[in-house]
């Protein structure tokens, strides 16, 4: 590996954002990103840096997800976190929290491959890089992305709609 520092400076922000969106936790995301760069250190040469980094990070997440105990702990702590955030009374914060929760739900509803392709694309990876990271054929990336975007927006809008209806119902 030639220059890990340069790699880090160039890709860390995008990688952390990608992972945060993927995992829903900033600390976890940073942890995985760091591990990704550590792995990069061990590489003698990387063809496509960005594709490689996102692929490794994605695989790390996948491996991580297999660790059941970790996941359970995550869920337990998420629940705890939720209880803590309940206290916040501010309207704007609540509004934003609700949006984030709906976004989370909508993203989680996607198929894994669609979700990852979309998140990678959002970080600026081009079709070839996405194809390489996810081991797809470059020709199928457009289809994957269009499907992912449509489904994400549709399920988000559906969630929004049901929420509005709930509020309307509660108000009347």
């Amino acid at each position: 590996m030639t220059d890990v520092e340069r790699l880090f400076r160039t890709y860390n922000a995008a990688l952390v954002r990608y992972l945060t969106r993927r995992l829903g936790d900033r600390d976890w995301a940073e942890e995985v990103a760091q591990e990704t760069f550590v792995r990069a250190l061990r590489q003698t040469s990387i063809q496509n840096e960005r594709a490689w980094l996102f692929a490794v990070a994605t695989n790390l997440v996948r491996d991580e997800a297999r660790k059941d105990s970790r996941r359970r702990k995550h869920l337990a702590l998420l629940a705890e976190q939720e209880r803590d955030t309940m206290v916040e009374p501010e309207e704007t914060t609540l509004e934003r929290a609700q949006e984030a929760a709906m976004a989370r739900k909508a993203v989680d509803a996607l198929a894994e491959r669609d979700r990852l392709a979309l998140l990678m694309r959002e970080e600026g990876l081009d079709y070839n890089e996405i194809a390489e990271a996810l081991e797809l054929s470059p020709g199928s990336v457009g289809t994957t992305l269009s499907r992912a975007r449509r489904r994400l927006v549709e399920s988000y809008e559906a969630l929004q709609k049901s929420r509005e209806e709930r509020e309307k119902h509660a108000a009347s």
């Binding site: 829903g24 936790d25 900033r26 600390d27 942890e31 457009g142």
Partner: protein, 388 residues
Amino acid sequence: MQHPDEGTIHSWLDGALSPDEAAQVEAHVKDCAQCQAAVAEARGFIAASSRILTALDNAPRGVIPAAKPVKRIDPMMWRIAATVLVVAAGTLLVVRNNGTDERSTVKATAGDSASQVQTTAEKPEAVGNAATATAPTATIQAAPIQQNSAAMRQPPVLARGGQKAQRDNVAASQDSRTDQATSKSKAAAFGAIAGRAPAPSNMNAAGQVAAAAPAVAPARRLEARVGASDLNAMADAAGEEPKLREIGPGRRALGEKRTLYEVAPGDTVVLAEQVSMQLQSVVVSGAGATRAMSGAPAPTEQSRATAKTAAPAETPRPAAAPPPAVAPVMPSFIEGADGVNTLTWKDSASGNVVKLTGHHTRAELEAIRRRIDQMRAAAAVRDSVKKD
């Protein structure tokens, strides 16, 4: 060209098509209302999904705990450590270890802690506070150990500071976050026990000081409970010296009572006391003396066993009771073979001729003798108080 599919439209909008393909799509969309609508929709999806994903960026931190850094020791660990140490202390009580030099780890750490609390120990009210002790606990056995080892290094400090010093000691040790989980935390755990253990409530301040002083482990603690002021002085005196451990009677010979003392681990001396009495008296007084020295409340197996061979002996007396008529022997020193030397003197209390034998120089033997004298005097005082 036929209508481009949705994937192609997204590819086009994402700039992922080759220049040729892009030109074709562009040309088609220009003239196709249906595809213009599809492109508009695709743009909407792209923008909307970007916006939705942005909402995820406010993800909470710390949902997943980072690899745990140095954590404070779980209270349960202290309990476990305390339990282990109680057991260890019990073992130590059996295999008494009063060495002056060899107790490297425990003594060193305890010494460190003792010096840590030196300032607080200097406060005069420390002794007073120490008297207001907690209820006796099961860990009481551990206390003398800590006291002993700490006091060896800094006898006056601990003696004066009493338990207050030890309590501070605990705090100090616990505050030092124990990454060095070895000796340091052991010392802390020691402190934890010693700090909690304490002080039967009937102790007065003087007794407390005596208890805190290094003294001869349990025997000294018994004296402390008696709480006589002269014991206080004795305890102070004893505080200057490392203790001896009586590790039991040696071989018993006719007209002679032998007691084995351990000066240091593996380093023993034999105290032979010539008693010109009837066999019965020897046995009985031997039993009484042994009991007095060890501080055990009930007659031991051994005393019962020896009593069996002798005539009925219902009322054990301390060795000091009947002073036999033996010609006074001045302190004398006999240099034996193999470095085994013998110091002989006349016991002032009993008038018995006493011989102290061991691999020691004369000066060492005399120091040991002084300490034995103190122990015996303390035992005698305690015994007489108990009788009253």
